[in-house]
């Protein structure tokens, strides 16, 4: 019995020791978790890209670098997309209205590049190529076919180092002919063509037919190359109407933050700072509103300029291409929730190791010109400029206005050839008339600050502006 009592005591002691050991283990675990959390938070707050500072992360990153190459690029948008109905009549689409067609045409490009035969054409006949039903991309800059296909995630057999500035996707009806995709280098008048039957071609063909029906009353365009207007140095799609005048919607410019109080402004600017909320804000005597933290400054001036500056130090150098930089640009633009007006990618500027993506506003597929390019003293101005360095946005500037239709209509009566004749007369005063580089019909601002349709003719590096109303 005594022996049994002793055994019970020992068991009790063992049980007490077990509990205290469990408590100790739990405390050790809790201290470990707290230590790890403290290290993580300190690293995040002080060292920014904390994970990049440890040795194991570096080894792991070596393996995943190759896989990430394709993930870090976005499909470059066209400046504008022209849809041809196969009857020498076209529509030119800017901004969101071009997206549906581009999405469908990109599917044909991907399928054709993956499965169909490729051929290089030394000489192209553009009027013949665009004579069929087609979607034509006019890119804002020249880039490589391989880069575009990589961004589309197309699995191609070879790396295609062919520079292109426009793409023509000519789908077949599914019964006759073959789908054709042309990557065109306009400077050298060369093209790379993928030809064959694609499953996605019929969808694009039907979509073009649908657009033809929908755009029955919209502004139509003609091709200068198809009409034999050799005075134009390159093919330009110009608007034309058969009636004596073209009615259009009058637009007004409204300040995006005019009625916004400090709290509204803070709420709209906050997404630029991510999840960190340690920023401070200030409104100075001029009315400029500034929000900043250690790395980022966002400023909104009363003249309507919204500016973002990032002073973050990049932990590593990465290879930057137009497509990788454009991905950073589009991801950043998604943060600006205050943009309500439609816009399009108008230009890509290359400055040393920085790429600047310029965007301009458009209303009903008609571009809005914020400055008068015919005024020699006027500074070139785009609605949105995004500077990307090392695949990270360093500077962002936006003229923060919304364009709304006033409900009134105005009319244009001067056709493009009258505008060309006026510009040609002015140009020949300055010297012999050479090639006309371009002509655009855009919303332009007059001296009273009102917008109306204007012609802008580009001859020998000079821009000639003309009203669309006869004087």
């Amino acid at each position: 019995m005594r022996y049994t009592f002793r055994e019970a005591e020992i068991e009790k002691e063992i049980s007490v020791m077990r509990v205290s050991r469990q408590k100790r283990d739990f405390k050790t675990l809790a201290i470990g978790v707290l230590l790890a959390a403290a290290l993580y938070q300190t690293g995040t707050l002080w060292l920014e890209n904390y994970s990049g500072h440890n040795f194991f992360y570096y080894i792991a990153s070596l393996n995943s670098a190759a896989q990430k190459e394709n993930e870090v690029s976005a499909v470059l948008d066209a400046e504008y997309i022209t849809v041809g109905y196969g009857s020498k009549v076209f529509n030119v689409l800017y901004g969101k209205s071009a997206q549906e067609l581009k999405k469908s045409a990109d599917k044909v490009i991907k399928e054709a590049a993956e499965k169909k035969d490729m051929e290089e054409l030394e000489e192209i006949n553009l009027p013949e190529i665009i004579d069929k039903k087609a979607v034509i991309y006019s890119m804002p800059c020249e880039s490589l076919v391989s880069e575009y296909l990589n961004a589309l995630d197309a699995k191609t057999k070879e790396n295609i180092s062919f520079g292109f500035s426009s793409v023509v996707v000519a789908p077949s009806s599914g019964i006759k002919n073959e789908d054709e995709v042309y990557f065109i280098n306009s400077d050298e008048s060369k093209a790379l063509i993928f030809r064959g039957n694609c499953e996605s071609g019929k969808n694009l063909y039907d979509l073009i037919d649908k657009k033809a029906t929908d755009s029955y009353d919209s502004l139509q365009y003609i091709s200068t190359a198809q009409n034999g207007f050799n005075i134009f140095g390159k093919n330009v799609f110009v608007p034309q109407w058969s009636q004596s005048r073209l009615d259009y919607a009058v637009i007004e410019e409204r300040n995006a933050f005019d009625d916004a109080g400090d709290n509204d402004l803070l709420a709209k600017i906050e997404p630029f700072f991510g999840s960190y909320h340690g920023q401070t804000w200030d409104r100075d005597d001029s009315g400029a509103f500034t929000v900043s933290d250690n790395d980022i400054v966002v400023k909104y001036s009363p003249d309507g300029m919204l500016e973002y500056y990032s002073y973050k130090v990049d932990s590593s150098e990465s290879v930057q291409s137009v497509y990788s930089a454009y991905k950073a640009c589009t991801e950043f633009l998604a943060l600006d929730e205050s943009i309500t007006s439609d816009y399009y990618l108008s230009q890509v500027q290359f400055k040393s190791n920085t790429m600047v993506f310029c965007f301009d506003y458009c209303v009903d597929s008609i571009p809005v010109m914020l400055y008068d390019p015919s005024d020699e003293n006027a500074e070139e101005r785009h609605a949105i400029e995004v500077a990307v360095k090392n695949n990270s946005v360093k500077n962002y500037r936006r003229y923060a206005v919304d364009f709304v239709k006033s409900g009134e209509t105005a009319f244009a009566e001067k056709d493009f050839l009258s505008a060309v004749n006026e510009a040609a007369a002015d140009a020949s005063e300055n010297g012999a008339l050479t090639d006309i580089e371009n002509i655009m019909m855009c919303y332009g601002k007059n001296s009273e600050g009102n917008y109306s349709l204007k012609w802008f003719t580009y001859i020998s590096g000079t821009v000639y502006a003309a009203d669309t109303k006869n004087s």
């Binding site: 009806s173 003609i222 034999g228 007369a425």
Partner: protein, 145 residues
């Protein structure tokens, strides 16, 4: 006698020369069509509701385009009329509206000091539905389609 014969033959030959000059080409306003409607053909067909007429001419040339519809009896009815003056660029371009059926397009170019250039073409605008059928159906001999 030889002199008289020579003078007679000379005058006789001169008469022929003047006749040849009279039958020669008149100084007509110069027009070159570079795109759109082909005026070299007498008749053309289209499914579109409009057509482009583009080309080049001397600066100052006044171009008139008149579109007539033709009924079953062959009577003409004026539908549209366009007038353009060619400017410094030397180019002209006009989109013309077409009605279903036969459209007679009359084109004239006038330049001061020159004879008018006149040409015409009949454009037969057909139903768009026919085009859709042609593009989307396969017709086989003996299939009854």
């Amino acid at each position: 006698m030889k002199k008289i014969l020579f003078v007679f033959l000379f005058c006789f030959g001169f008469c022929f020369m003047s006749c040849a000059a009279y039958a020669g080409e008149k100084d007509v306003a110069q027009v070159e069509f570079t795109g759109g409607v082909d005026f070299e053909k007498e008749r053309i067909s289209t499914f579109n509701d409009s057509k482009q007429i583009s080309g080049s001419a001397e600066s100052g040339t006044v171009i008139k385009i008149t579109v007539y519809t033709v009924n079953l009896r062959g009577n003409l009815r004026e539908r549209e009329s366009y007038e353009i003056e060619v400017g410094k660029s030397g180019l002209f371009s006009q989109s013309i509206d077409l009605r279903l059926g036969e459209n007679l397009v009359e084109f004239s170019a006038c330049l001061e000091g020159k004879e008018d250039f006149i040409d015409e073409v009949v454009i037969n605008r057909k139903e768009r539905g026919i085009k859709y059928k042609l593009e989307n159906e396969i017709y086989l001999p003996g299939s009854g389609n």
